[in-house]
Protein backbone atom coordinates (compact mmCIF):
# COMPACT_ATOMS: atom_id res chain seq x y z
CA UNK A 1 0.00 0.00 0.00
CA UNK A 2 1.22 3.52 -0.68
CA UNK A 3 0.29 7.14 -0.96
CA UNK A 4 0.03 9.27 -4.11
CA UNK A 5 2.73 11.40 -2.46
CA UNK A 6 5.14 8.50 -3.18
CA UNK A 7 4.43 8.59 -6.91
CA UNK A 8 7.54 9.05 -8.98
CA UNK A 9 8.56 8.51 -12.55
CA UNK A 10 8.89 4.78 -13.20
CA UNK A 11 6.72 3.71 -10.25
CA UNK A 12 4.22 0.98 -11.14
CA UNK A 13 0.67 1.42 -9.89
CA UNK A 14 -1.67 -1.56 -9.79
CA UNK A 15 -5.04 -0.36 -11.07
CA UNK A 16 -7.90 -2.82 -11.62
CA UNK A 17 -5.35 -5.65 -11.39
CA UNK A 18 -3.20 -4.25 -14.22
CA UNK A 19 0.30 -2.72 -13.87
CA UNK A 20 0.54 0.92 -14.99
CA UNK A 21 3.88 2.72 -15.24
CA UNK A 22 4.00 6.37 -14.18
CA UNK A 23 5.52 8.26 -17.13
CA UNK A 24 5.03 11.77 -15.74
CA UNK A 25 3.45 13.38 -12.69
CA UNK A 26 2.80 16.77 -11.17
CA UNK A 27 1.46 17.94 -7.80
CA UNK A 28 -1.50 20.28 -8.22
CA UNK A 29 -3.38 22.27 -5.60
CA UNK A 30 -6.36 23.76 -7.39
CA UNK A 31 -7.51 27.07 -5.83
CA UNK A 32 -8.64 26.15 -2.34
CA UNK A 33 -9.31 22.55 -3.40
CA UNK A 34 -7.78 19.34 -2.04
CA UNK A 35 -4.22 18.41 -3.02
CA UNK A 36 -3.97 16.16 -6.07
CA UNK A 37 -1.28 14.43 -8.11
CA UNK A 38 -1.86 14.57 -11.83
CA UNK A 39 -0.21 11.64 -13.61
CA UNK A 40 0.19 10.11 -17.01
CA UNK A 41 0.35 6.33 -16.76
CA UNK A 42 1.08 3.65 -19.32
CA UNK A 43 -0.18 0.10 -19.19
CA UNK A 44 2.88 -2.15 -18.86
CA UNK A 45 1.23 -4.85 -20.96
CA UNK A 46 -0.78 -3.04 -23.63
CA UNK A 47 1.07 0.28 -23.85
CA UNK A 48 -2.23 2.16 -23.53
CA UNK A 49 -1.81 5.55 -21.83
CA UNK A 50 -4.21 7.28 -19.43
CA UNK A 51 -4.38 10.63 -17.66
CA UNK A 52 -5.12 9.89 -14.00
CA UNK A 53 -5.56 12.31 -11.12
CA UNK A 54 -5.20 11.06 -7.54
CA UNK A 55 -6.16 12.83 -4.34
CA UNK A 56 -3.11 12.76 -2.04
CA UNK A 57 -5.21 11.26 0.77
CA UNK A 58 -6.02 8.16 -1.31
CA UNK A 59 -4.38 4.77 -0.90
CA UNK A 60 -2.58 3.23 -3.86
CA UNK A 61 -1.02 -0.15 -4.50
CA UNK A 62 2.46 -0.04 -5.99
CA UNK A 63 4.11 -3.04 -7.65
CA UNK A 64 7.53 -4.27 -6.50
CA UNK A 65 10.27 -2.69 -8.60
CA UNK A 66 13.86 -3.87 -8.83
CA UNK A 67 16.42 -1.07 -9.11
CA UNK A 68 19.73 -1.83 -10.81
CA UNK A 69 22.85 0.27 -11.30
CA UNK A 70 23.73 0.45 -14.95
CA UNK A 71 25.95 2.47 -17.26
CA UNK A 72 24.86 4.25 -20.41
CA UNK A 73 26.46 2.69 -23.48
CA UNK A 74 25.09 4.18 -26.69
CA UNK A 75 21.99 5.07 -28.69
CA UNK A 76 20.82 2.82 -31.52
CA UNK A 77 17.58 2.01 -33.32
CA UNK A 78 16.16 0.34 -30.18
CA UNK A 79 16.69 3.55 -28.20
CA UNK A 80 19.10 4.15 -25.32
CA UNK A 81 21.17 1.11 -24.33
CA UNK A 82 22.39 0.52 -20.75
CA UNK A 83 24.54 -2.22 -19.23
CA UNK A 84 24.26 -3.77 -15.80
CA UNK A 85 27.56 -3.13 -14.02
CA UNK A 86 27.56 -6.55 -12.30
CA UNK A 87 26.43 -9.10 -14.88
CA UNK A 88 26.97 -7.09 -18.09
CA UNK A 89 23.35 -7.66 -19.13
CA UNK A 90 22.11 -4.98 -21.56
CA UNK A 91 18.69 -3.34 -21.64
CA UNK A 92 17.30 -0.59 -23.80
CA UNK A 93 14.78 2.21 -23.32
CA UNK A 94 12.86 3.68 -26.25
CA UNK A 95 13.36 7.37 -27.09
CA UNK A 96 9.79 8.03 -26.00
CA UNK A 97 10.21 6.32 -22.61
CA UNK A 98 13.54 8.02 -21.95
CA UNK A 99 11.87 11.37 -22.57
CA UNK A 100 13.49 14.69 -21.79
CA UNK A 101 16.14 13.20 -19.46
CA UNK A 102 17.92 11.83 -22.54
CA UNK A 103 19.66 15.20 -22.83
CA UNK A 104 21.69 14.38 -19.69
CA UNK A 105 23.03 11.02 -20.95
CA UNK A 106 26.78 10.85 -21.43
CA UNK A 107 28.99 7.87 -22.27
CA UNK A 108 29.53 5.66 -19.24
CA UNK A 109 27.33 7.67 -16.89
CA UNK A 110 25.87 5.59 -14.05
CA UNK A 111 22.07 5.52 -13.81
CA UNK A 112 19.45 3.70 -11.78
CA UNK A 113 17.23 1.53 -13.95
CA UNK A 114 13.80 0.43 -12.69
CA UNK A 115 13.09 -3.15 -13.73
CA UNK A 116 9.58 -4.58 -13.69
CA UNK A 117 9.11 -8.25 -14.61
CA UNK A 118 12.42 -8.30 -16.47
CA UNK A 119 11.83 -5.11 -18.47
CA UNK A 120 13.49 -1.74 -18.05
CA UNK A 121 10.65 0.71 -17.46
CA UNK A 122 12.39 3.86 -16.24
CA UNK A 123 15.83 5.39 -15.91
CA UNK A 124 16.87 7.83 -13.22
CA UNK A 125 19.91 9.94 -13.94
CA UNK A 126 22.00 11.23 -10.97
CA UNK A 127 20.41 14.24 -9.28
CA UNK A 128 23.54 16.33 -9.75
CA UNK A 129 25.71 15.92 -12.85
CA UNK A 130 28.83 17.58 -14.20
CA UNK A 131 28.81 19.14 -17.68
CA UNK A 132 31.28 21.18 -19.70
CA UNK A 133 30.21 24.47 -21.22
CA UNK A 134 30.89 24.27 -24.95
CA UNK A 135 29.30 27.54 -26.03
CA UNK A 136 28.50 30.77 -24.20
CA UNK A 137 29.04 34.52 -24.37
CA UNK A 138 32.48 35.61 -23.05
CA UNK A 139 32.82 35.88 -19.27
CA UNK A 140 32.31 39.27 -17.65
CA UNK A 141 35.02 39.86 -15.06
CA UNK A 142 35.24 42.10 -12.03
CA UNK A 143 31.47 42.19 -11.64
CA UNK A 144 31.18 40.03 -8.55
CA UNK A 145 28.52 42.26 -6.98
CA UNK A 146 26.04 41.05 -9.55
CA UNK A 147 27.24 37.44 -9.44
CA UNK A 148 23.67 36.29 -9.75
CA UNK A 149 23.13 37.69 -13.21
CA UNK A 150 22.91 34.81 -15.66
CA UNK A 151 23.44 34.04 -19.33
CA UNK A 152 22.63 31.10 -21.55
CA UNK A 153 25.20 28.34 -22.07
CA UNK A 154 25.31 25.18 -24.16
CA UNK A 155 26.63 22.01 -22.52
CA UNK A 156 28.63 19.12 -23.93
CA UNK A 157 25.46 17.01 -24.30
CA UNK A 158 23.78 19.86 -26.14
CA UNK A 159 21.17 21.27 -23.78
CA UNK A 160 20.93 24.92 -22.73
CA UNK A 161 21.29 26.07 -19.13
CA UNK A 162 21.37 29.48 -17.41
CA UNK A 163 24.77 30.07 -15.78
CA UNK A 164 26.41 33.02 -13.98
CA UNK A 165 28.06 35.50 -16.34
CA UNK A 166 31.57 34.93 -14.91
CA UNK A 167 31.75 31.44 -16.47
CA UNK A 168 33.60 30.70 -19.69
CA UNK A 169 33.59 28.19 -22.48
CA UNK A 170 35.44 25.10 -21.21
CA UNK A 171 34.35 25.58 -17.59
CA UNK A 172 32.71 22.66 -15.82
CA UNK A 173 29.42 23.15 -14.02
CA UNK A 174 27.10 21.08 -11.81
CA UNK A 175 23.47 20.89 -12.99
CA UNK A 176 20.49 19.70 -10.98
CA UNK A 177 18.81 17.22 -13.33
CA UNK A 178 15.46 17.40 -11.54
CA UNK A 179 15.07 21.13 -12.16
CA UNK A 180 17.45 21.58 -15.09
CA UNK A 181 19.07 24.45 -13.16
CA UNK A 182 22.73 25.38 -12.63
CA UNK A 183 23.93 24.55 -9.09
CA UNK A 184 27.58 25.55 -8.89
CA UNK A 185 30.91 25.60 -10.65
CA UNK A 186 32.49 22.13 -10.60
CA UNK A 187 35.56 21.90 -8.37
Amino acid sequence: MGSPNDIKKGAVIIKDGEPWIVTSFQHVNPGKGAAFVRTRIKNAKTGKTLEQTYKTSETLTFAEIEYRNMSYLYHDNTGYVFMDNKNYEQVSMSDEDMGDDAKYLKDGIEVLVSMYQGNAIAVQVPKKMKFTIVETAPAVKGDTASGNVTKEAKTDTGFMVQVPIFLNQGDEVIVNTETGEYVERAK
Binding site: K15, V28, N29, P30, A35, E51, T53
Partner: protein, 329 residues
Protein backbone atom coordinates in the same frame (compact mmCIF):
# COMPACT_ATOMS: atom_id res chain seq x y z
CA UNK B 1 18.34 33.33 -7.32
CA UNK B 2 18.36 35.84 -10.14
CA UNK B 3 19.13 39.50 -9.36
CA UNK B 4 17.71 40.78 -12.65
CA UNK B 5 14.37 39.12 -11.94
CA UNK B 6 14.30 40.69 -8.47
CA UNK B 7 14.83 44.11 -10.03
CA UNK B 8 11.90 43.45 -12.38
CA UNK B 9 9.84 42.32 -9.39
CA UNK B 10 10.43 45.66 -7.68
CA UNK B 11 9.24 47.47 -10.82
CA UNK B 12 6.14 45.27 -11.04
CA UNK B 13 5.25 46.00 -7.41
CA UNK B 14 5.78 49.72 -7.94
CA UNK B 15 3.44 49.62 -10.96
CA UNK B 16 0.81 47.64 -9.06
CA UNK B 17 0.74 50.25 -6.27
CA UNK B 18 0.60 53.07 -8.84
CA UNK B 19 -2.40 51.50 -10.60
CA UNK B 20 -4.36 51.08 -7.37
CA UNK B 21 -3.50 54.61 -6.29
CA UNK B 22 -4.71 55.93 -9.68
CA UNK B 23 -7.96 54.03 -9.28
CA UNK B 24 -8.63 55.48 -5.83
CA UNK B 25 -7.92 52.31 -3.82
CA UNK B 26 -6.38 52.62 -0.36
CA UNK B 27 -3.61 50.26 0.69
CA UNK B 28 -4.29 48.34 3.89
CA UNK B 29 -1.61 46.66 5.96
CA UNK B 30 -3.63 43.92 7.61
CA UNK B 31 -2.16 41.68 10.32
CA UNK B 32 -0.08 38.67 9.37
CA UNK B 33 -0.49 37.08 12.83
CA UNK B 34 -4.08 36.18 13.73
CA UNK B 35 -5.87 34.00 16.27
CA UNK B 36 -8.52 32.73 13.85
CA UNK B 37 -7.11 32.12 10.37
CA UNK B 38 -9.10 31.07 7.30
CA UNK B 39 -10.76 27.72 7.75
CA UNK B 40 -10.64 26.46 4.14
CA UNK B 41 -10.57 22.68 4.40
CA UNK B 42 -7.55 22.31 2.12
CA UNK B 43 -5.35 25.17 3.28
CA UNK B 44 -3.11 24.72 6.31
CA UNK B 45 -1.92 27.77 8.24
CA UNK B 46 1.55 27.88 9.83
CA UNK B 47 1.20 28.21 13.62
CA UNK B 48 3.55 29.75 16.17
CA UNK B 49 3.56 30.68 19.87
CA UNK B 50 3.86 34.28 20.99
CA UNK B 51 3.79 35.68 24.52
CA UNK B 52 3.75 39.00 26.25
CA UNK B 53 6.85 39.87 28.28
CA UNK B 54 4.80 40.17 31.47
CA UNK B 55 2.93 36.93 31.05
CA UNK B 56 3.73 33.26 31.02
CA UNK B 57 0.76 32.41 28.89
CA UNK B 58 1.62 31.63 25.33
CA UNK B 59 -0.91 32.52 22.65
CA UNK B 60 -1.05 30.28 19.69
CA UNK B 61 -1.30 32.36 16.54
CA UNK B 62 -1.44 31.58 12.86
CA UNK B 63 0.20 33.36 9.96
CA UNK B 64 -2.50 34.36 7.49
CA UNK B 65 -3.09 32.18 4.44
CA UNK B 66 -4.72 35.29 2.91
CA UNK B 67 -5.76 38.72 4.27
CA UNK B 68 -9.39 38.01 3.36
CA UNK B 69 -11.04 38.12 6.80
CA UNK B 70 -9.37 41.38 7.84
CA UNK B 71 -10.17 42.97 4.49
CA UNK B 72 -13.86 42.07 4.81
CA UNK B 73 -13.96 43.51 8.33
CA UNK B 74 -12.49 46.73 6.93
CA UNK B 75 -15.18 46.85 4.22
CA UNK B 76 -17.72 46.34 7.01
CA UNK B 77 -16.15 49.24 8.88
CA UNK B 78 -17.00 51.52 5.96
CA UNK B 79 -14.13 51.39 3.47
CA UNK B 80 -15.06 51.04 -0.22
CA UNK B 81 -12.00 50.22 -2.35
CA UNK B 82 -9.03 48.63 -0.60
CA UNK B 83 -6.02 46.50 -1.44
CA UNK B 84 -3.40 44.61 0.53
CA UNK B 85 0.00 43.61 -0.82
CA UNK B 86 2.06 41.42 1.45
CA UNK B 87 3.36 37.94 2.22
CA UNK B 88 0.98 35.08 2.98
CA UNK B 89 1.94 31.74 4.41
CA UNK B 90 0.73 28.21 3.76
CA UNK B 91 1.87 25.00 5.37
CA UNK B 92 2.04 21.68 3.56
CA UNK B 93 2.55 23.12 0.07
CA UNK B 94 4.50 21.26 -2.66
CA UNK B 95 7.57 23.67 -2.72
CA UNK B 96 7.84 23.05 -6.42
CA UNK B 97 8.32 25.41 -9.34
CA UNK B 98 5.06 27.25 -8.65
CA UNK B 99 4.57 27.07 -4.85
CA UNK B 100 6.58 28.60 -2.02
CA UNK B 101 5.20 28.42 1.55
CA UNK B 102 5.79 32.19 1.87
CA UNK B 103 4.55 34.07 -1.17
CA UNK B 104 3.56 37.59 -2.14
CA UNK B 105 -0.18 38.04 -2.38
CA UNK B 106 -2.16 40.97 -3.71
CA UNK B 107 -5.80 41.14 -2.68
CA UNK B 108 -8.30 43.82 -3.53
CA UNK B 109 -11.94 44.45 -2.73
CA UNK B 110 -14.61 46.75 -4.14
CA UNK B 111 -18.02 47.53 -2.73
CA UNK B 112 -21.01 47.24 -5.13
CA UNK B 113 -19.23 44.96 -7.57
CA UNK B 114 -19.31 41.42 -8.95
CA UNK B 115 -17.06 39.12 -10.98
CA UNK B 116 -17.36 41.30 -14.11
CA UNK B 117 -15.79 44.25 -12.31
CA UNK B 118 -13.02 41.94 -11.02
CA UNK B 119 -12.27 40.70 -14.54
CA UNK B 120 -12.13 44.33 -15.78
CA UNK B 121 -9.77 45.21 -12.91
CA UNK B 122 -7.41 42.33 -13.74
CA UNK B 123 -7.32 43.32 -17.42
CA UNK B 124 -6.68 47.00 -16.66
CA UNK B 125 -4.14 46.29 -13.92
CA UNK B 126 -2.14 43.89 -16.09
CA UNK B 127 -2.24 46.20 -19.10
CA UNK B 128 -0.87 49.01 -16.93
CA UNK B 129 1.78 46.91 -15.14
CA UNK B 130 3.06 45.40 -18.40
CA UNK B 131 3.18 48.85 -20.07
CA UNK B 132 5.62 49.95 -17.34
CA UNK B 133 8.09 47.09 -17.99
CA UNK B 134 10.82 47.45 -20.56
CA UNK B 135 11.08 43.83 -21.70
CA UNK B 136 8.00 42.00 -20.54
CA UNK B 137 7.80 38.41 -21.74
CA UNK B 138 4.07 38.52 -21.01
CA UNK B 139 1.58 40.46 -23.09
CA UNK B 140 -2.13 41.16 -22.97
CA UNK B 141 -3.78 42.25 -26.20
CA UNK B 142 -6.76 44.51 -25.37
CA UNK B 143 -8.92 41.75 -23.93
CA UNK B 144 -8.75 38.45 -22.06
CA UNK B 145 -10.79 35.42 -23.08
CA UNK B 146 -13.66 34.49 -20.72
CA UNK B 147 -15.23 31.06 -20.38
CA UNK B 148 -17.66 29.66 -17.82
CA UNK B 149 -16.96 26.34 -16.10
CA UNK B 150 -19.93 24.94 -17.99
CA UNK B 151 -18.33 26.01 -21.32
CA UNK B 152 -14.88 24.53 -20.60
CA UNK B 153 -16.43 21.19 -19.68
CA UNK B 154 -18.44 21.25 -22.90
CA UNK B 155 -15.53 22.35 -25.13
CA UNK B 156 -12.58 20.50 -23.58
CA UNK B 157 -14.22 17.35 -22.16
CA UNK B 158 -17.41 17.02 -24.23
CA UNK B 159 -19.49 16.91 -21.05
CA UNK B 160 -22.67 18.80 -20.11
CA UNK B 161 -21.97 19.62 -16.48
CA UNK B 162 -25.26 21.27 -15.48
CA UNK B 163 -27.30 18.03 -15.27
CA UNK B 164 -24.50 16.49 -13.16
CA UNK B 165 -24.40 19.22 -10.53
CA UNK B 166 -25.05 17.78 -7.07
CA UNK B 167 -25.35 14.27 -8.54
CA UNK B 168 -22.39 12.35 -7.13
CA UNK B 169 -23.34 8.96 -8.58
CA UNK B 170 -23.62 10.31 -12.12
CA UNK B 171 -20.25 12.10 -11.76
CA UNK B 172 -18.58 8.93 -10.43
CA UNK B 173 -19.93 6.91 -13.36
CA UNK B 174 -18.74 9.51 -15.87
CA UNK B 175 -15.26 9.66 -14.29
CA UNK B 176 -14.65 5.93 -14.32
CA UNK B 177 -16.44 4.98 -17.56
CA UNK B 178 -15.62 7.89 -19.86
CA UNK B 179 -12.27 8.99 -18.43
CA UNK B 180 -10.83 5.85 -16.78
CA UNK B 181 -10.39 7.60 -13.43
CA UNK B 182 -10.30 5.68 -10.15
CA UNK B 183 -13.13 6.86 -7.90
CA UNK B 184 -13.20 5.83 -4.25
CA UNK B 185 -16.01 5.99 -1.67
CA UNK B 186 -14.13 8.82 0.05
CA UNK B 187 -14.38 11.05 -3.03
CA UNK B 188 -17.11 13.67 -2.80
CA UNK B 189 -18.60 15.49 -5.81
CA UNK B 190 -15.86 18.14 -5.78
CA UNK B 191 -13.09 15.51 -5.70
CA UNK B 192 -14.52 13.72 -8.73
CA UNK B 193 -14.96 17.07 -10.47
CA UNK B 194 -11.25 17.79 -9.93
CA UNK B 195 -10.12 14.32 -11.06
CA UNK B 196 -11.71 14.95 -14.44
CA UNK B 197 -10.94 18.67 -14.56
CA UNK B 198 -7.24 18.30 -13.69
CA UNK B 199 -6.63 15.46 -16.16
CA UNK B 200 -8.80 16.52 -19.09
CA UNK B 201 -9.51 20.24 -18.90
CA UNK B 202 -6.96 22.26 -16.94
CA UNK B 203 -3.95 21.18 -19.06
CA UNK B 204 -5.80 22.52 -22.13
CA UNK B 205 -6.60 25.80 -20.38
CA UNK B 206 -2.99 26.16 -19.22
CA UNK B 207 -1.63 25.47 -22.71
CA UNK B 208 -3.78 28.20 -24.22
CA UNK B 209 -3.91 31.97 -24.11
CA UNK B 210 -4.64 33.86 -20.85
CA UNK B 211 -8.18 33.16 -19.71
CA UNK B 212 -10.78 33.88 -17.07
CA UNK B 213 -12.72 30.86 -15.88
CA UNK B 214 -15.90 31.89 -14.04
CA UNK B 215 -19.27 30.75 -12.71
CA UNK B 216 -18.29 27.74 -10.60
CA UNK B 217 -20.43 24.97 -9.13
CA UNK B 218 -21.88 26.42 -5.92
CA UNK B 219 -20.15 23.77 -3.77
CA UNK B 220 -16.75 25.15 -4.82
CA UNK B 221 -17.23 28.67 -3.63
CA UNK B 222 -17.71 28.76 0.14
CA UNK B 223 -17.30 32.54 0.35
CA UNK B 224 -19.10 33.54 -2.86
CA UNK B 225 -22.61 34.69 -3.70
CA UNK B 226 -24.73 32.27 -5.68
CA UNK B 227 -25.42 33.39 -9.27
CA UNK B 228 -28.62 35.41 -9.49
CA UNK B 229 -30.18 33.40 -12.31
CA UNK B 230 -29.31 29.88 -11.07
CA UNK B 231 -28.39 29.00 -7.48
CA UNK B 232 -26.53 25.84 -8.52
CA UNK B 233 -23.71 28.12 -9.70
CA UNK B 234 -21.70 30.69 -7.78
CA UNK B 235 -19.96 33.91 -8.81
CA UNK B 236 -16.34 32.87 -8.56
CA UNK B 237 -13.59 33.62 -11.10
CA UNK B 238 -10.07 32.29 -11.66
CA UNK B 239 -7.44 33.75 -13.96
CA UNK B 240 -5.06 31.47 -15.84
CA UNK B 241 -2.04 32.56 -17.87
CA UNK B 242 1.17 30.94 -19.08
CA UNK B 243 0.34 27.58 -17.51
CA UNK B 244 -0.25 29.11 -14.09
CA UNK B 245 -3.30 29.86 -11.97
CA UNK B 246 -2.78 33.50 -11.03
CA UNK B 247 -5.91 34.73 -9.31
CA UNK B 248 -9.05 33.57 -7.57
CA UNK B 249 -11.95 35.96 -6.89
CA UNK B 250 -15.50 36.01 -5.62
CA UNK B 251 -18.60 38.11 -5.55
CA UNK B 252 -18.46 37.99 -1.77
CA UNK B 253 -21.23 36.39 0.24
CA UNK B 254 -22.65 38.93 2.70
CA UNK B 255 -25.38 36.82 4.34
CA UNK B 256 -24.06 35.90 7.82
CA UNK B 257 -26.56 33.06 8.31
CA UNK B 258 -25.57 31.34 5.08
CA UNK B 259 -21.90 32.05 5.78
CA UNK B 260 -22.14 30.46 9.24
CA UNK B 261 -23.69 27.38 7.67
CA UNK B 262 -20.86 27.11 5.14
CA UNK B 263 -18.18 27.64 7.81
CA UNK B 264 -19.75 24.83 9.83
CA UNK B 265 -19.69 22.57 6.76
CA UNK B 266 -16.01 23.40 6.28
CA UNK B 267 -15.31 22.65 9.93
CA UNK B 268 -17.01 19.27 9.54
CA UNK B 269 -14.96 18.52 6.45
CA UNK B 270 -11.77 19.40 8.36
CA UNK B 271 -12.83 17.20 11.29
CA UNK B 272 -13.64 14.27 9.01
CA UNK B 273 -10.19 14.44 7.44
CA UNK B 274 -8.53 14.53 10.87
CA UNK B 275 -7.50 18.20 10.66
CA UNK B 276 -7.49 20.81 13.39
CA UNK B 277 -10.62 22.95 13.78
CA UNK B 278 -10.87 26.36 15.46
CA UNK B 279 -13.70 28.75 16.27
CA UNK B 280 -15.64 30.68 13.68
CA UNK B 281 -14.57 34.33 13.51
CA UNK B 282 -17.72 36.02 14.90
CA UNK B 283 -16.38 39.51 14.17
CA UNK B 284 -16.18 38.54 10.51
CA UNK B 285 -19.80 37.33 10.51
CA UNK B 286 -20.89 40.60 12.17
CA UNK B 287 -19.08 42.61 9.50
CA UNK B 288 -20.54 40.77 6.49
CA UNK B 289 -23.98 42.51 6.28
CA UNK B 290 -22.25 45.90 6.48
CA UNK B 291 -19.98 45.04 3.56
CA UNK B 292 -22.78 45.30 0.94
CA UNK B 293 -22.41 43.52 -2.39
CA UNK B 294 -18.63 43.51 -2.48
CA UNK B 295 -16.26 41.59 -4.71
CA UNK B 296 -12.68 40.60 -3.97
CA UNK B 297 -9.82 38.76 -5.62
CA UNK B 298 -6.48 37.30 -4.55
CA UNK B 299 -3.63 37.55 -7.03
CA UNK B 300 -0.24 35.78 -6.87
CA UNK B 301 2.40 38.45 -7.48
CA UNK B 302 5.37 36.04 -7.66
CA UNK B 303 3.63 34.15 -10.46
CA UNK B 304 2.97 37.39 -12.34
CA UNK B 305 6.69 38.18 -12.06
CA UNK B 306 7.45 34.71 -13.44
CA UNK B 307 5.38 35.58 -16.53
CA UNK B 308 6.89 39.05 -16.96
CA UNK B 309 10.49 37.78 -16.62
CA UNK B 310 9.94 34.43 -18.34
CA UNK B 311 11.26 32.65 -15.22
CA UNK B 312 10.31 28.97 -15.25
CA UNK B 313 10.34 28.59 -11.46
CA UNK B 314 8.97 30.65 -8.57
CA UNK B 315 12.40 30.08 -7.00
CA UNK B 316 13.87 32.41 -9.63
CA UNK B 317 11.72 35.37 -8.55
CA UNK B 318 12.11 35.05 -4.75
CA UNK B 319 15.33 36.30 -3.07
CA UNK B 320 15.87 33.20 -0.94
CA UNK B 321 13.24 30.60 -1.75
CA UNK B 322 12.08 28.11 0.88
CA UNK B 323 13.48 25.31 -1.22
CA UNK B 324 16.91 26.94 -1.05
CA UNK B 325 16.95 28.22 2.52
CA UNK B 326 14.85 25.62 4.34
CA UNK B 327 14.82 22.57 2.10
CA UNK B 328 18.50 21.65 1.98
CA UNK B 329 17.81 18.17 3.25
Amino acid sequence: MNIENLQVKAEVIKAIRAWFDNQGFIEMHTPRMVALPGQEPYLEPCWLDVKRQTSNVKCRVALVTSPEYAMKKLLGAGLDKIYDLGPCFRDNEPWDGSHDPEFLMLEWYRRNAGVNELMDDVLNLLTFVISKQRNSKFEIRNSIKKMTVEEVWRVYAGVELAPLLENREAMAKLASEKFGQTVTDQDDWDDIYYKIFLSEIEPKIEAGEPMFLYRYPASMAALARKSEDDSRWADRVEFYAGGLELANGFAELSDPVEQRKRFEEEQNLRRRSGKEVWSIDEELLNALPKMGNAAGIAFGVDRLVMLVTGAKSINDVIPFSARDRLGKN
